[in-house]
C-alpha cells in the first residue's frame, strides 16, 4: 500500500479518473438508451465504437480530415448505421417476447464486426497520429491529456444533447414513454419499431462520438471494443440501467475507482475492484446509484 500522497497527487489522480471514466460513460449512454427501449444489453456497442475509430482513421488518412473535425460525419453515419442495423437485424426479434434472441443477435453482430475489421484492416494495433497526439496541458501543477480532455467534453456534450432530446422533443418523449412501458406506449399510438430504431440510431451515433475519442487517444485493434462493452455495462449498472445521465456518472465513478486502486493498491486489482463495486451496487441498489426504483430513460 502506497503512503498518503500530497494534495496535488490526489488532484492528479482525480483528474485522471474523471477523464478516463468519461470514455466509459459515453459508451454507457448509448447502451443505456438501447436498453431503455429494447431491454437489450447491446454487447456489440464496443465493436461499433472500434468500427467508428477505424472510420475516423480512414477519413484522416484517406481524406486528411482531422479526427475531431470528422465528428459530425461520424455521428451522422453512426446514426444511419444504427437505423439500418435495427431494421435489418433486430426488427423481427424485437417483436418477440424472448429477449435472448436479440441478445444472441448482438453477440453475433459483435463477432461479425470484429472479424470483418480484421479482414479489412488486419489484426495489428492501429492508431491515429496527429500533431496533438500524446500532448498534455498543465495547470496548477496538474497535467491533463489534451485528447482525453476533448473526449471528456464530447461525453458531456453528447449526454446533454441526448437528455435535451429525450426531455424536450416529442419523439424523445415517445422514446421515454416506450422505455417506461412499451405496451402502454404502443396503445397510445407510439410505434415500438420507430422508438427502437431511434434508440439504436442515437446509441450508434454516440458510438461514433466515442470512436472519435478512442481514435485520437488510444491504439486500437478489431478486438479492443469488448473491454469498452464490459466497462460500459459496469458503468450502466453503477449509474442506473436506463438512466442516461447516470450512465455517464457511472462511467466517471468507475474511472475514479480504477485510478485510486491503481495508485493506492496495485494495477492488478483495478478490475477486481471495478467488478466488485458493480456486484455490490447490483446487490444493494439494483436500480443503480442515480435512479429511482422505477427506471426512466
Amino acid at each position: 500500500m502506497t503512503e498518503i500522497p500530497s494534495l496535488q497527487v490526489l488532484l492528479q489522480l482525480t483528474v485522471n479518473g474523471i477523464l478516463g471514466g468519461a470514455m466509459y460513460g459515453v459508451a454507457a449512454v448509448g447502451l443505456s438508451l438501447i436498453f431503455g427501449t429494447m431491454r437489450l444489453i447491446f454487447l456489440a456497442q464496443g465493436a461499433m465504437i472500434i468500427l467508428a475509430a477505424y472510420f475516423v482513421r480512414a477519413l484522416f488518412q484517406g481524406l486528411g480530415i482531422d479526427p475531431f473535425l470528422s465528428l459530425p460525419i461520424v455521428i451522422t453515419v453512426g446514426a444511419g448505421v444504427g437505423w439500418l442495423i435495427y431494421q435489418g437485424l433486430f426488427r423481427r426479434a424485437a417483436a418477440m417476447e424472448d429477449r435472448n434472441v436479440s441478445l444472441l443477435i448482438a453477440v453475433g453482430l459483435m463477432f461479425l464486426v470484429q472479424n470483418l475489421m480484421t479482414v479489412i484492416w488486419g489484426g495489428n494495433t492501429a492508431g491515429v497520429v496527429t500533431s496533438y497526439t500524446a500532448s498534455g496541458i498543465g495547470a496548477f501543477g496538474i497535467r491533463m491529456s489534451f485528447t482525453r480532455s476533448i473526449g471528456f467534453l464530447i461525453a458531456i456534450a453528447g449526454t446533454a444533447l441526448v437528455m435535451l432530446f429525450l426531455k424536450k422533443t416529442l419523439v424523445g418523449k415517445a422514446v421515454r414513454a416506450a422505455s417506461e412501458d412499451m405496451t402502454s406506449a404502443a396503445l397510445l399510438g407510439i410505434s415500438p419499431h420507430r422508438v427502437n430504431a431511434i434508440a439504436f440510431s442515437i446509441g450508434l451515433a454516440l458510438a461514433g462520438a466515442a470512436g472519435v475519442a478512442v481514435a485520437t487517444t488510444f491504439p486500437f485493434n478489431p478486438f479492443a471494443g469488448f473491454v469498452f462493452s464490459l466497462k460500459a455495462l459496469v458503468a450502466l449498472a453503477i449509474g442506473g440501467i436506463g438512466n442516461v445521465a447516470g450512465a455517464l456518472a457511472g462511467g466517471i465513478i468507475l474511472g475514479l475507482i480504477e485510478a485510486y486502486v491503481q495508485y493506492f493498491i496495485s494495477g492488478g486489482w483495478t478490475n477486481a475492484f471495478g467488478y466488485g463495486v458493480f456486484l455490490l451496487v447490483l446487490m444493494l441498489k439494483p436500480e443503480g446509484l442515480f435512479s429511482r426504483p422505477y427506471k426512466k430513460a
Binding site: 477523464l19 488486419g122 489484426g123 500524446a134 500532448s135 487517444t217 491503481q262
Partner: protein
C-alpha cells in the same frame, strides 16, 4: 428414394482418381503444413510468420527442393488459420493432417498455442517444429514428435541488467521499476525479472502488475513519477504499451531507460508512436544484424517488401530451415526419423546461428535487445554494434 447406380459408379471413379492424384502428389512433393494466425488479435505476428515460412520454402525450391533418398523433391507449404486462438490450433492442425495430408508441420507462435499444436502432432505422429514457446511450457509434455528452439525467461530477464553492467556508472539506473502484465506469461516473466534484479544487486522502486486492455494507466504513471523512477522494464501487449507511452508523454514523464517485452518490437508500435518510439529498447527473437549466413539478406528482403525491418522473421525462417534439413538428414518425412535427426543433434549456421538441440529436443537461442532509432531496430544485445542512447526528457527530444 431411387438408387442411382450410375451416380455411384461415377462417384467411386472420381474418388479413385482423386486418391491416386493425392498419392501421386505425395510421392512427387513434400507438403509442409503450418497453422498460422491469419485472423484474430495475433494476425500481425502471423503475417510475419507466414512471410518467413514462404521465403524459406521458396529458397528450398529455388535450390532444387529437398534431397530425400535418391530424389530431390519440391516443397509445398499449406497454411491453416488458427484464428489466434488456442482452441482453434487443434482444429487447424487436424485439417492440415487429415484433409491436406501434410508430411510435417511448422509451428504457429506463442506458448499456449504451440503446446496445443504439439499435443495434436503427438496424437497423429506428425513432426511439429516449434519456435516461440517457453521451454517450461512445452517440456512437461515430454513430446517425441516436436522440437523447440527459443529462449528461457531466466536468461532473457537478465538481458537489461547485463546491458546496465556495460554502461558507464553515471548512466546506470538507480531507481528501476518493473511493470508486468497481469497474465500467466507476465507473472512468469515478472518473477524472472525480480530474480535477475536480486542477482545483479538491484531493487525495484515500483513493481506493479498492469491490467491487460485497460484504457487508462495515468495512475500508474503518477505512481512511477512519484517514486522518481529512472528505468522501466515493461512486459505488455503493443496496444497497452503504446497507451502507457502516450500517457507518459501527456503527463510529462519520461525515463532514460525504457525496455519493453512483447509489445515494443512490432512495427505497429513505431507506427503508432512515430518519433516517440526512438530510444525505446525492445526484445526480439532475431536480428538482421546477426553475422550468420543469410541473416542480412533475409532482413533486406523483408525491408524491401514491407519498408520496415523485423526482429522475428529470422526465427521463423530458421524454424523452416531446421525442419528442411532434418527431413534431408532423415531421408524421410516419418516423424520418428525426423525426431532422431533433431534430438541431441546440432544444426550449424542457420539464420539464428548454430542450434544445439538437447535430448529433450530443446535448443536455446539468446533473447535479443534492440533500440528503436528512426524506425529501425538497432542491435544492442547480444554483441550488438549499436551504442545505447539514454532518452532525454520529452521536451528535449
Amino acid at each position: 428414394m431411387r438408387f442411382d447406380f450410375k451416380g455411384m459408379i461415377a462417384g467411386l471413379a472420381l474418388s479413385t482418381v482423386l486418391t491416386a492424384a493425392v498419392a501421386q502428389a505425395a510421392e512427387n512433393e513434400i507438403v509442409i503444413g503450418a497453422p498460422i494466425s491469419l485472423t484474430g488479435p495475433l494476425a500481425g505476428d502471423g503475417k510475419e510468420q507466414r512471410w518467413a515460412y514462404e521465403q524459406a520454402v521458396a529458397d528450398v525450391n529455388a535450390a532444387g527442393g529437398l534431397q530425400v533418398g535418391d530424389k530431390k523433391l519440391p516443397v509445398r507449404l499449406v497454411i491453416a488459420d488458427d484464428e489466434s486462438s488456442e482452441g482453434k490450433v487443434a482444429a487447424a492442425l487436424e485439417n492440415l493432417i487429415k484433409v491436406q495430408k501434410v508430411d510435417a508441420l511448422l509451428s504457429t507462435h506463442s506458448g499456449p498455442m504451440n503446446v496445443a499444436g504439439a499435443i495434436v502432432a503427438e496424437k497423429y505422429k506428425k513432426f511439429y517444429m516449434i519456435t516461440t514457446a517457453f521451454p517450461f511450457e512445452w517440456q512437461p509434455l515430454k513430446a517425441k514428435y516436436s522440437a523447440l528452439f527459443f529462449f528461457h525467461p531466466g536468461p532473457g530477464a537478465e538481458v537489461p541488467f547485463q546491458i546496465w553492467e556495460k554502461l558507464p556508472e553515471d548512466q546506470r539506473p538507480k531507481n528501476p521499476a518493473l511493470v508486468s502484465e497481469d497474465t500467466p506469461d507476465g507473472k512468469g516473466f515478472g518473477g524472472a525479472f525480480v530474480g535477475a534484479a536480486e542477482k545483479y544487486g538491484y531493487k525495484f522502486a515500483v513493481n506493479d502488475p498492469w491490467t491487460v486492455g485497460a484504457t487508462d494507466y495515468s495512475a500508474l504513471v503518477t505512481k512511477l513519477k512519484g517514486a522518481n523512477v529512472d528505468a522501466m522494464l515493461v512486459f505488455g501487449s503493443p496496444a497497452d504499451t503504446i497507451t502507457l507511452m502516450r500517457q507518459m508523454k501527456e503527463l510529462g514523464f519520461s525515463v532514460p531507460y525504457f525496455h519493453g517485452w512483447k509489445g515494443t518490437w512490432t512495427g505497429e508500435f513505431h507506427d503508432a508512436l512515430g518519433a516517440d518510439s526512438d530510444y525505446i529498447l525492445t526484445d526480439g527473437f532475431w536480428s538482421s544484424h546477426y553475422p550468420y549466413t543469410g541473416s542480412k539478406e533475409l532482413g533486406e528482403r523483408y525491408e524491401k517488401e514491407y519498408g520496415k525491418d523485423s526482429v522475428t522473421v529470422g526465427a521463423f525462417y530458421a524454424n523452416a530451415q531446421v525442419l528442411a534439413r532434418a527431413i534431408e538428414k532423415a531421408g524421410s518425412t516419418d516423424a520418428g526419423k525426423i525426431h532422431d535427426a533433431i534430438f541431441g543433434q546440432e544444426f550449424k549456421d542457420t539464420v539464428v546461428g548454430d542450434l544445439k538441440f538437447d535430448e529433450t529436443g530443446f535448443a536455446l537461442i539468446p533473447s535479443v535487445a534492440t533500440q528503436w532509432w528512426q524506425g529501425k531496430h538497432q542491435l544492442i544485445f547480444p554483441d550488438g554494434d549499436w551504442t545505447y542512447k539514454p532518452a532525454p526528457a520529452w521536451d528535449k527530444r
